[in-house]
């Protein structure tokens, strides 16, 4: 298998960054990790995952859509879209990699979202297998294997080496582009690392969390459950879960007067917010119970109903560690199941 020794990782990053923008998960001053554009000397974080998911690369928090020039009664529409430049995201975890295929099921189905597709077409996803999954991890619940991540090209760190394997054509192009830096090597150390990780996975606190009681046919079973009242009681409606979630994809469209015309942009939105469904004549989701229920029903019932049973969650665990009232999808699943 093709590999590179860990002390040459910097030269690998230099070689990639010389051709296109490279983003890697790096440490922030506050101890969290986030994707940063690579500059010489930047180091990969030692943290398991980034605070924010990798969805920003394809579905940024805010994005300009179109501009208008207003002149009296006249309006001129300016299509400001530009072909995006090629880029590489290095070090995406298996959970976030799966989230891209979930977002694809929303944004690449007819009518294709050209803004999303543009970024997706130009981005190469290099994933990084996990060797030390956290207590909040439950990607296995959704059939994700963190020791064999998806993405265009998968990478494993084992011992003193980084190993590479292409999953897609784009991934093969990536490997070909760095082939000069890679060498063939045996995989003994990699195999033992993967075996060790699999043992750790079996012992994770959420290892036995199952989706068997959820899916597209569970609407009537759960929608009117009396559990929602207690589960949602303390929800602040802050939307943190939505913003750190790699699969949450709802957006708002807003206009901004630049003083030199109108800029129309879209930005992340949350079904947890009170004005999400508010109309001139009223709001069909009046209380936090309904808004809270919508978020979880969508991930556990509605999304699978429309997508051959695939759930709208990848078990990254971000909501488990970030919700200010410690509410999360795992608690919701357990409560709903407990009849």
């Amino acid at each position: 298998m093709l590999r590179i020794s860990a002390d040459k990782l910097d030269s690998l990053f230099e070689a990639i960054a010389a051709k296109q923008a490279l983003y890697i998960p790096a440490d922030r001053e506050d101890g969290e990790a986030e994707y940063k554009k690579y500059v010489s000397g930047m180091k990969l974080t030692s943290r398991l995952n980034t605070l924010r998911s990798a969805k920003d690369f394809f579905f940024p928090q805010t994005e300009d859509i179109v501009e208008f020039r207003m002149d009296g009664k006249k309006i001129e529409v300016n299509d400001i879209r530009k072909e995006c430049e090629d880029f590489v995201i290095f070090g995406v975890r298996a959970c976030d990699a799966r989230s891209f295929t979930i977002l694809d099921k929303v944004y690449l189905v007819d009518p294709v979202d050209s803004f999303y597709k543009n970024r997706r077409d130009h981005g190469t996803v290099v994933t990084m297998a996990c060797s030390r999954p956290a207590e909040t991890c439950f990607c296995q619940t959704f059939g994700i294997d963190p020791t064999a991540p998806e993405g265009d090209c998968a990478c494993w760190k084992a011992g003193n080496y980084y190993y590479f394997k292409a999953n897609t054509e784009k991934g093969q192009v990536f490997i070909d582009s760095i082939a000069g830096l890679l060498e063939e090597g045996d995989t003994a150390e990699l195999d033992s690392t993967v075996a060790r990780t699999r043992e750790i996975m079996k012992k994770l606190p959420l290892a036995n969390l199952s989706t068997e009681n959820f899916g597209g046919d569970k609407l009537n079973e759960y929608f009117n459950s009396d559990k929602w009242a207690e589960l949602s009681e303390s929800c602040l409606g802050c939307g943190t879960c939505t913003f750190v979630c790699p699969t949450c994809q709802c957006y708002d469209i807003k206009d901004f007067n630049t003083g030199n015309g109108i800029k129309r942009y879209r930005c992340w939105d949350s079904c947890m917010y009170s004005d999400f469904t508010k109309m001139a004549h009223g709001n069909p989701r009046l209380t936090q119970l309904e808004r809270f229920r919508q978020r979880f029903m969508h991930k556990l019932v509605y999304f699978p109903a429309n997508n051959n049973g695939e759930f709208g969650c990848v078990g990254c665990g971000r909501c488990l560690s970030k919700c200010p009232i410690s509410m999360n999808i795992v608690k919701v699943m357990k409560a709903l199941e407990d009849k």
């Binding site: 208008f68 979202d113 508010k278 001139a280």
Partner: protein
């Protein structure tokens, strides 16, 4: 790059009709004349004044109108206030058409049709009414039961009097909530009027109006013997994208903008009661 549905067309408002104290009907054409796009009855479009907002409105004109599109809009919020302040010649942005349509070429074909509308709820039904009037040979009898708060609040009143009421095979039954001078027609709420008129249960029903009117009318229709599979309505929820991606109009596994806005009541019954 391919066209993106989020990037709108520009339309010109070429006529503004004052329907009621709070409803105006706007005629919209492409800057070079003609329609911006074709649609089917029941479909909607996103109208916007850039810098103010964008919202979904039903296209009230019939597709058989080859010259322009019309939108009947009630003043009830920020964007609609601005729309009502427009003058002829003003440009707006338009994108669409969005959503499904009333099944005028399939399930409704050959049927006797009963339209029931309340207030501005006539706007989406007017598209269907004028479509079936223009293709009269494809449909059976047409009955229209329409009510509003007062005579002044009846949308499209002149068209109802001069065109619909003078058509053969079209029965129009109007009602207003409270008696007023100059009105010798029926007085009372729509749900009760429907029961009084006791329409034949062979008719296929298309209903649109305030939620409370729909609720009581549907209950009355069921008492008369109508089945949910015979009754269609069109829904309204907050929308942003119009193509089932922004998530706003999601109910159960449906997106009202894309899978609706037209639903049969038996289909609605399968969705959570969140509208």
């Amino acid at each position: 790059m391919n066209n993106d549905t989020l990037i709108p067309y520009v339309g010109v408002v070429t006529d503004i009709r004052i329907d009621t104290p709070d409803v105006k009907t706007f005629r919209v054409e492409a800057p070079e004349g003609g329609k911006l796009f074709e649609h089917m009855p029941g479909q909607c479009a996103m109208l916007s004044i850039p810098g103010v907002g964008e919202a979904m409105f039903s296209i009230t004109s019939s597709p058989t109108n080859k010259e322009f599109m019309e939108f009947s809009i009630k003043k009830c919020g920020c964007l609609t206030e601005w729309l009502h302040a427009m003058e002829v010649g003003q440009m707006i942005t338009v994108r669409g058409p969005y959503g499904n349509a009333f099944p005028v070429e399939t399930e409704l074909k050959g049927k006797d049709l009963l339209f029931i509308a309340g207030g501005i709820g006539l706007a989406p039904l007017r598209s269907v009414i004028n479509y079936v009037r223009d293709k009269r040979e494809n449909y059976g009898d047409i009955q229209i039961i329409y009510g509003s708060r007062s005579k002044d609040d009846l949308v499209d009143y002149q068209e109802i009097l001069n065109e619909w009421m003078t058509d053969d095979g079209v029965e129009v039954d109007l009602t207003i909530d409270n008696a007023q001078e100059g009105w010798d027609g029926h007085v009372g709420f729509v749900p009760n009027y429907v029961k009084e008129l006791d329409p034949s249960i062979n008719k296929t029903v298309l209903i649109c109006g305030p939620p409370i009117m729909i609720k009581f009318t549907l209950a009355g229709l069921k008492e008369l013997g109508f089945k949910e599979t015979q009754v269609y309505t069109t829904m309204e929820l907050r929308m942003k994208c119009g193509v089932g991606k922004c998530g706003r109009c999601n109910i159960g596994n449906k997106y009202v903008c894309k899978d609706g806005p037209v639903f049969r009541f038996d289909q609605l019954g399968e969705l959570p009661d969140e509208y």
